[in-house]
Every structure is written in structure tokens, then in C-alpha cells.
Amino acid sequence: MTVTVLLFASYADVLGRGSLSLDLASGATVRDALREIQSMPGAERLPMQPLVAVNERYARVDRVLADGDALAVIPPVAGG
């Protein structure tokens, strides 16, 4: 299955892009997806357990992903 990963702000900078596609085995969780992302060049500057959202809602790392999900890796928010 394929998941779209969205990156923002400092995370987009360290990975050099704002989005990417991940091919994952069926049943893969957010944790599995993060492991893939953290193996990419520059990702050593990401935190071990970043905040994530699946389809625009905050999600836990054991959340099971589905084909077509949008997984956003959320840097520390600084709105207001």
C-alpha cells in the first residue's frame, strides 16, 4: 500500500522536501512509517518520536495505516 507523507517547516527543511510517498506492507503502523522516514538522508535531525497526524487528526504511533492515508509529521507547533 502507499501512504503520502507530509513534512512541514524545519522537518521539510531537513529532508529537503514537503512530501513523499512511502510503500509499506499491509498492516504497517505509524511507527513503521516513521522508521522508514528516519532512515532517509538528513532525518537524523528529526526527533525520535515526532508528533504525527493521520488524515488531519493527531494519531498514535501504533495506529495502523491504510492505503491512501496522509501521514503528516508535525514539528513543534508555534501558532498564535
Binding site: 535531525r45 503528516a72 513543534p76 501558532g79 498564535g80
Partner: protein
């Protein structure tokens, strides 16, 4: 009741009018502005960016929560995105209520939840020409922000 991201200056007077009703005795306006110093560093401006679709959903959720908790539908929030200069308003929260106590509490609830949950980020530009993403304290672990020469 309304929440929006905008890419233009925020009109605080218009928001004040939007929440005005004769049943209300108290209107509270919170205006967040770009400061010239943060953590001891001289700031010349801030860029705001967001995960816009999620940010709008979170903002709407927060406004609905405040409306239910504090019993008023007269809550309007606008958050600005893009490049802001010193003194520009990044956010305006207008709340009106029959009674002042609930107006203060609702306003405070909205800004605190926004600071905690809404996926908006800011990059400060400093007087020495550098710029840096600002990390809030809500991440699972501390993050070393990327620092670049502007």
C-alpha cells in the same frame, strides 16, 4: 462562530463587530503581534506557515469546544499566514458574552489550545540576517531547530 486562516492583514474592528450582539455585556479581543525580541535575540519579522487543511479543522474544533464550554456562539478567530513585520497581528480572537468572566475564560481557552494543537509554524528573521524555525514546548521531545543563514 468562525475560524479562518488568512493571507492578508487581520481587521480587528471587523471581528469585534462580528461578535457584537445586544445580549452581550463584554467583548474581549486578543491580538497577538510580532515582537522585536524573542529569547534575547533581535527579531525583524516572522514567516508563518501551516498545514492549512488540518489547521483550519483544529481551529474550528477549538472554537466549537469554547462555545460549548462557555455558552456563547460569539467567537471569531483569524490567524494570519505569510510574511509579517514587527507589530503586525498574527492572530485576533474576538469573544463576546453576556458576562465578562466567561468572556475572559473563553478567550484564554482559545489561545492556549491554539498554541498547543494547531499545526502552524513560524520562522523568525533576526537582525543578524539569520532565520530559524521556532519550536514550542509541546513536542514529544526537544527538537534542535534548523538554523540557516538568510
Amino acid at each position: 462562530m468562525r475560524a479562518a486562516l488568512v493571507h492578508r492583514p487581520i481587521d480587528a474592528a471587523a471581528l469585534t463587530k462580528e461578535v457584537a450582539r445586544h445580549a452581550n455585556g463584554a467583548t474581549l479581543l486578543f491580538i497577538g503581534t510580532v515582537r522585536d525580541v524573542n529569547d534575547g535575540r533581535g527579531v525583524t519579522g516572522i514567516e508563518y506557515t501551516a498545514y492549512e487543511s488540518m489547521a483550519e479543522r483544529e481551529l474550528a474544533d477549538i472554537v466549537h469546544e469554547a462555545s460549548a464550554e462557555f455558552a456563547t456562539t460569539d467567537i471569531v478567530v483569524e490567524h494570519r499566514l505569510g510574511a509579517l513585520d514587527l507589530g503586525d497581528a498574527s492572530i485576533v480572537i474576538a469573544v463576546a458574552h453576556p458576562h465578562r468572566g466567561a468572556a475572559y475564560d473563553a478567550s484564554r481557552y482559545v489561545i492556549e489550545q491554539i498554541k498547543r494543537r494547531v499545526p502552524i509554524w513560524k520562522r523568525e528573521h533576526y537582525v543578524d540576517g539569520t532565520r530559524q524555525w521556532v519550536g514550542a514546548s509541546t513536542s514529544a521531545r526537544p527538537v534542535t531547530d534548523a538554523v540557516e543563514t538568510g
